[in-house]
């Protein structure tokens, strides 16, 4: 099923008269999804203030175009798409990633960091340490395209398909970026634990 077209731009002059019943319907149907839209905004925007502004603008744009929403379809998805479009229109942000994106190769490499951790005696890295600050720092250090997919998938529990939809990138690219981002985070955390002196000299007998 095709979703309704989402307007990319909006000007003050396009504000229209809003009967109370229309607004009430909008509030009843759209506002329950505010938490989900806030999560999308938080994943896309740089900071909380920008994210909150993005949520407000998303709802105002959705209200102005409420007539284009097909009743009975997925309102959360409709709002999330508007949120994504507002964000992209505001930021004019590119989606260029220089690294080669190959989800199959990234998937095969998924155990690389574990092998390194195991060789350094850090097999139980995540059970032994409070890695919260290190994880937050490592995520902040990721390039934006990688950070976006990690936040959407691993913090906000979006599916691969939802992320592909939101960021307008192919499904394979979502997987590739996500798996690569996770590998980069794992390697950063192993390095962090090593810096803390928790690693033992590398044991090459470990496969």
């Amino acid at each position: 099923m095709r979703r309704p077209a989402i307007p990319l731009t909006m000007t003050a002059s396009s504000t229209v008269s809003l009967p109370d019943s229309r607004t009430r319907e909008f509030e009843a149907v759209a506002l329950p999804h505010l938490g989900a839209v806030a999560r999308v905004a938080r994943a896309l925007a740089r900071d909380e203030a920008d994210a909150d502004d993005l949520v407000q603008e998303t709802y105002l744009r959705a209200l102005r175009h409420w007539d284009t929403f097909q009743r009975g379809t997925d309102c959360r998805r409709w709002l999330s798409t508007i949120c994504r479009n507002v964000f992209l229109a505001q930021k004019q942000r590119g989606q260029v990633v220089t690294a080669v994106e190959n989800d199959v190769l990234e998937a095969y490499a998924s155990a690389d960091a574990h092998r390194l951790a195991r060789a350094s005696g850090l097999n139980d890295l995540f059970d032994r340490l409070d890695l919260g600050p290190a994880i937050r720092g490592a995520i902040a250090g990721l390039d934006v395209p990688f950070r976006d997919v990690v936040l959407l998938a691993d913090i906000h529990d979006f599916t691969y398909e939802e992320i592909a939809d939101l960021l307008m990138i192919p499904l394979g690219t979502v997987r590739s970026r996500l798996f690569r981002a996770r590998r980069m985070l794992q390697l950063a955390l192993v390095a962090h634990a090593t810096d803390l002196g928790l690693a033992r000299p590398s044991d090459r007998s470990t496969p």
Partner: protein
């Protein structure tokens, strides 16, 4: 030393660990991964490491809490009211 055939099977399973943990595998593949993990300590170890990593990441970054969403909702409702009044 792992036999070539077993190594190939393990590589296939390792390449599906992330989609498996993300709940993104079709049922047939999911069952194959689960069956392999039950009999292969090496792959099970990779799986445990990956799962512990995802749990640590999820716990490290707080999601939006209810109070914050409620405050944001009140703000959006005010904006909607203003928009309606202007109409």
């Amino acid at each position: 030393m792992t036999a070539p055939a077993a190594r190939s099977e393990c590589e296939e399973i390792v390449s599906r660990l992330w989609p498996h943990l993300d709940g993104a595998l079709p049922e047939v593949e999911r069952a194959r991964v689960v069956a392999h993990l039950e009999k292969c300590d090496g792959c099970r170890s990779h799986y445990d490491f990956a799962r512990a990593f995802l749990e640590a990441v999820h716990e490290a970054v707080p999601d939006d809490d209810a109070d914050r969403v409620a405050a944001l909702r009140a703000r959006v409702e005010r904006a909607i009211a203003r928009e309606s009044d202007q109409g």
